[in-house]
């Protein structure tokens, strides 16, 4: 019998003898992975949606009077002084009226009798892709509001602000769930291994007396940790995938979710979660071995 076969047999025995506590730990690790991976999935998809929406961002600066060609050039220079832009477009009062009338379609007759210059002239500014953070857009809008002739700046501020705070909240939740994963994986596994060691003191003592090496005694416990991490993360991620499939199947009708591409976790992230879970469980196992298994 070689070393690894002996060690696997020993690990199998450990699992059989303490299957109840092993099962509890395994379920706890699975649940922790599921909670973390779920919030991370929501987070990545929200960030994805946010990126997609930010491509549509444009700031509209309403002017109190229509600028002449000279003034337009001055305003363009002023705007570009803050940062380069993707596009700056002047919309005259007439153009604004025509757009509005086109938007009203068949109901455009409600505009009959209205003067053609009742809508204000404006500048539509599309910022660069690099300037898409909420705080940067806010600063830019404050700058635009101070331009000569500027009356008001609109860019869906309220919506953006809510979305920004939502993503901030999600970041906190993801960090908290990551902490939960770290705590449960490390401490639960550590605790279970500790229980196993305590419950098998006689056997471990005997193994030492009949000449078992340190690695023969310790490796099965490390294997248990690795197995807990591997199985816990696989089950947790599988449950999340099942949930993801259920959501995508039931919410694919035209609606809010269909506006975005709702993606599952990237393979590299899945691998990272599995490896991290294995690493944490092994760490938990290792600390218990160091502390309670003196050989």
């Amino acid at each position: 019998m070689n070393f690894w076969l002996a060690v696997f047999r020993q690990a199998g025995r450990n699992l059989r003898q303490t299957w109840m506590s092993q099962l509890m730990t395994f379920l706890t690790v699975s649940l922790s992975v599921l909670i973390f991976a779920f919030f991370y999935l929501v987070y990545t998809n929200t960030i994805g949606a946010s990126d997609k929406l930010s491509e549509e961002i444009r700031l509209i600066v309403y002017l109190n009077e229509e600028p002449g060609p000279e003034m337009q050039q001055q305003l363009i220079r002023k705007i570009n002084n803050f940062d380069d832009t993707e596009e700056i477009r002047f919309v005259s009062k007439q153009e604004a009226y025509d757009r509005f009338a086109a938007q009203l379609g068949d109901d455009s007759d409600v505009l009959d009798g209205m003067p053609k210059d009742f809508l204000p002239a404006s500048i539509e500014v599309v910022p660069l892709q690099t300037l898409r953070g909420f705080s940067e857009i806010k600063l830019f809008s404050e700058y635009l509001a101070k331009l000569p002739g500027s009356e008001k700046v609109q860019y869906g501020q309220e919506w953006m602000e809510r979305f920004y705070y939502f993503t901030q909240l999600l970041t906190i939740v993801v960090l908290l769930s990551a902490s939960l994963l770290i705590l449960t994986a490390t401490f639960m596994v550590s605790y279970t291994i500790r229980l196993t060691i305590m419950g098998r003191q006689d056997e471990l003592e005997l193994l030492k007396l009949v000449g078992a090496t340190n690695s023969y005694i310790r490796t099965p416990f490390l294997l248990e940790g690795i197995l807990q991490g591997l199985m816990g993360s696989l089950i947790g991620l599988s449950a999340l995938y099942a949930l993801f499939r259920w959501i995508t199947l039931h919410f694919t009708d035209p609606g809010l979710l269909n506006m975005f591409h709702f993606n599952f976790l990237q393979p590299v992230i899945i691998a990272a979660i599995i490896l991290t879970s294995i690493g944490l469980c092994t760490l938990g196992s290792f600390t218990s071995i160091q502390k309670f298994l003196k050989v």
Binding site: V210, G211, T213
Partner: protein, 224 residues
């Protein structure tokens, strides 16, 4: 095989289990330790297998100062020492076969060889029908034989046996002693701690009597 020079073992400041024991046990010898309960026989065996450390003195086993050995070296030496403990130290929730196999598993013996050795030993000790019995369900005499089988299973060079016949009838005692004699003839050094004169008076062996932790006598038994 075993060299002890002025070995003492104290428990606390008051209890002197062994005092100034100097002793040489040759390779291939069958050596008997006798004495009343509490004389220090079990302590002496525990010192030889490094289950306990001496308060003073030097103990060498197979040329190694056993108290200086650590890690793999100690483990490998222990694999060459088979011990049948007075309290058996059996795993009560395991079967007889598993208990015997454990000594061979730590030496990475092949499963087939382990199964074969277990069967042979159970046959020699009249325990064949107990192969899959949980040791907890055995009588003390049977447990004693399982402990002995485990001690000899790995073909150790040194076998330490503490009261091997205490719970056995005459017929089983003879079987046990035959097994130990065969191992001794095969080259193993055997140290037996016993109360039972019938087992050490039969051969031509050295017999050491301990009294209150000191060597009272060291004689050679005469074959009858």
């Amino acid at each position: 095989m075993v060299e002890m020079i002025k070995v003492s073992r104290n428990y606390g400041t008051d209890i002197k289990a062994l005092t100034d024991i100097s002793l040489t046990i040759d390779t291939g010898e069958m050596f008997f330790l006798i004495g009343r309960s509490g004389a220090g026989k079990t302590t002496l065996l525990k010192l030889i297998c490094n289950m306990e450390t001496p308060s003073n003195g030097l103990i060498e086993v197979a040329g190694y100062n056993i108290n200086n050995l650590k890690g793999k070296k100690l483990a490998h030496l222990r694999q060459k020492i088979g011990v049948a403990y007075q309290d058996f130290k059996l795993l009560n929730n395991r079967t007889v076969a598993e208990n015997i196999a454990i000594a061979m598993e730590v030496s990475y013996k092949k499963p087939l060889a382990i199964r074969q050795t277990v069967r042979d030993l159970l046959l020699q000790l009249q325990l064949t029908d107990k192969h899959n019995t949980i040791t907890e369900e055995l009588s003390r005499g049977e447990q004693q034989r399982v402990a002995l089988a485990r001690a000899v299973a790995n073909s150790p060079r040194l076998i330490l046996v503490d009261e091997p016949t205490g719970n056995l009838d005459a017929n089983t005692t003879e079987r046990v002693m035959n097994l130990l004699s065969r191992r001794n003839k095969a080259g193993a050094t055997i140290v037996i701690a016993t109360h039972d004169p019938s087992i050490y008076q039969k051969g031509n062996h050295r017999v050491m009597e301990l009294r209150d932790g000191t060597i009272h006598s060291l004689t050679r038994s005469k074959a009858s």
